[in-house]
């Protein structure tokens, strides 16, 4: 398995979607639906993940007429790496959320630039 050169927000969304699946391989279209990302973003991502050995694709075996659906699931190594990546990203997000905003540090009301935070201005 090759490491990912670039991990973008859509990459993390796709990995999270696949990790969240409890019912085996996930149909590519469901990934598009659940991530809310455009298909022009998700299709190349799935191809890249598959090419680099993170996921494997297979054809749906259900008895349906018409073209077969393409399903995806993690390889063993891919699942471990994806869990680490997603956990790392969640940690970074949590750290960033806990960090006081610039306005709060300056004593202002968060979200209201220039507003005082209760301190009365005396002449």
């Amino acid at each position: 398995m090759e490491p990912l050169q670039r991990v973008t927000a859509p990459t993390l969304d796709v990995l999270e979607c696949l990790l969240g699946s409890t019912e085996g391989p996930v149909w590519g279209l469901v990934i598009i639906k659940e991530t809310g990302r455009p298909s022009g973003t998700v299709y190349p991502l799935l191809e890249r993940l598959e090419r680099q050995g993170w996921i494997v694709g297979s054809w749906e075996e259900a008895e349906r007429s018409g073209p077969r659906r393409r399903l995806y699931e993690f390889t063993a190594d891919g699942r471990v790496a994806a869990m680490e990546l997603v956990a790392g990203a969640a940690e970074r997000r949590a750290t960033a959320a806990a960090r006081p905003s610039r306005s709060a540090r300056a004593g202002g009301t968060p979200g209201v630039p220039g507003a005082p935070s209760g301190r009365t201005a005396t002449p």
Partner: protein
């Protein structure tokens, strides 16, 4: 699924590397079929398939494609599979077509020059004859094979300069500083240079850069000859002038083709017994 979605997927499949077509076709058609079921727009899916095929050309073999399902052999090698429809060639042809149309528009403008809007039209035509071909050429450079990404990026930067130079010639600004032949000569030779540079060519292949310059010399002689007939109508002279200006650009395309042939022949001559790798797959 509508006819338009289906056509988009068909176009996307035909733009895809040959080795990926069957898989992509089945996958994307199944997704179109299921779009309604999941409340997704099949048109947007079709567009997504099209942009995927257009902008993601790397055709590395995927472990589970064309094989029995669920094989998990890790893939390490990267190679590009040739396309049946060469997108670079299409982009170059469109660039040339845009120049041709732009030249025709310039000839028409020459007949109706002097009107208040003619300056605005000149600028618009400048875009058609220089700007659009420049962008298309950059697109072709981005898809070209053989060179590194850095080379392709540098080549695109050089193309921007060449486009500005040619645009300045078309609107007449450039002609205040340098003669026509010099500007066109730099642009055509520069275009071939940029192409060869982006593709990482080496050795005697670079001699093909001279081809459009030689053709330019011949075209300039033909222009002189055409303009020696003082009785010829102005429209005919303008047409001759612009068509002869386009000939060196056609020579650029020929030079690029020649370069491709020469380098592939030299590669074959250098490695006559290694046409296949250990696995039996072609190595070039």
């Amino acid at each position: 699924m509508t006819g338009l979605d289906r056509r988009l997927v068909d176009a996307a499949v035909s733009l895809s590397p040959a080795a990926h077509r069957d898989t992509r076709r089945e996958q994307w058609l199944a997704d179109l079929d299921g779009a309604d079921e999941l409340g997704l727009s099949s048109l947007r899916l079709g567009m997504g398939a099209f942009t995927t095929a257009l902008f993601h050309h790397r055709a590395t073999h995927r472990s589970t494609w064309e094989d029995s399902p669920m094989t998990t052999v890790p893939v390490t090698g990267h190679h590009r599979v040739p396309h049946t429809l060469r997108t670079e060639s299409v982009l170059i042809a469109l660039a040339f077509l845009s120049m041709f149309v732009g030249a025709l528009l310039l000839i028409l403008l020459g007949r109706y020059g002097g009107t208040p809007l003619s300056r605005t039209f000149y600028l618009a035509v400048d875009g058609v004859i220089a700007g659009i071909p420049g962008l298309l050429f950059m697109g072709a450079l981005g898809l070209s094979e053989g060179g590194t990404r850095r080379r392709r990026s540098l080549a695109m930067g050089m193309t921007v300069l060449l486009t500005v130079l040619f645009g300045s010639y078309v609107v007449g600004f450039g002609r205040m500083f340098a003669p026509d032949w010099l500007i066109i000569g730099v642009v055509v030779a520069g275009s071939v240079f940029v192409w060869l540079f982006a593709r990482g060519h080496r050795g005697r292949v670079w001699l093909v850069t001279l081809l459009p310059v030689l053709v330019l010399c011949a075209a300039r002689s033909a222009q002189e000859f055409a303009f020696s007939d003082l009785n010829a109508p102005a429209a005919v002279l303008a047409f001759t002038y612009w068509m002869l200006n386009l000939v060196p650009f056609g020579a650029c395309a020929v030079a690029a083709l020649l370069a491709g042939r020469i380098s592939s022949r030299s590669r074959t001559a250098a490695a006559p017994v290694s046409l296949t790798g250990r696995s039996g797959e072609p190595t070039s």
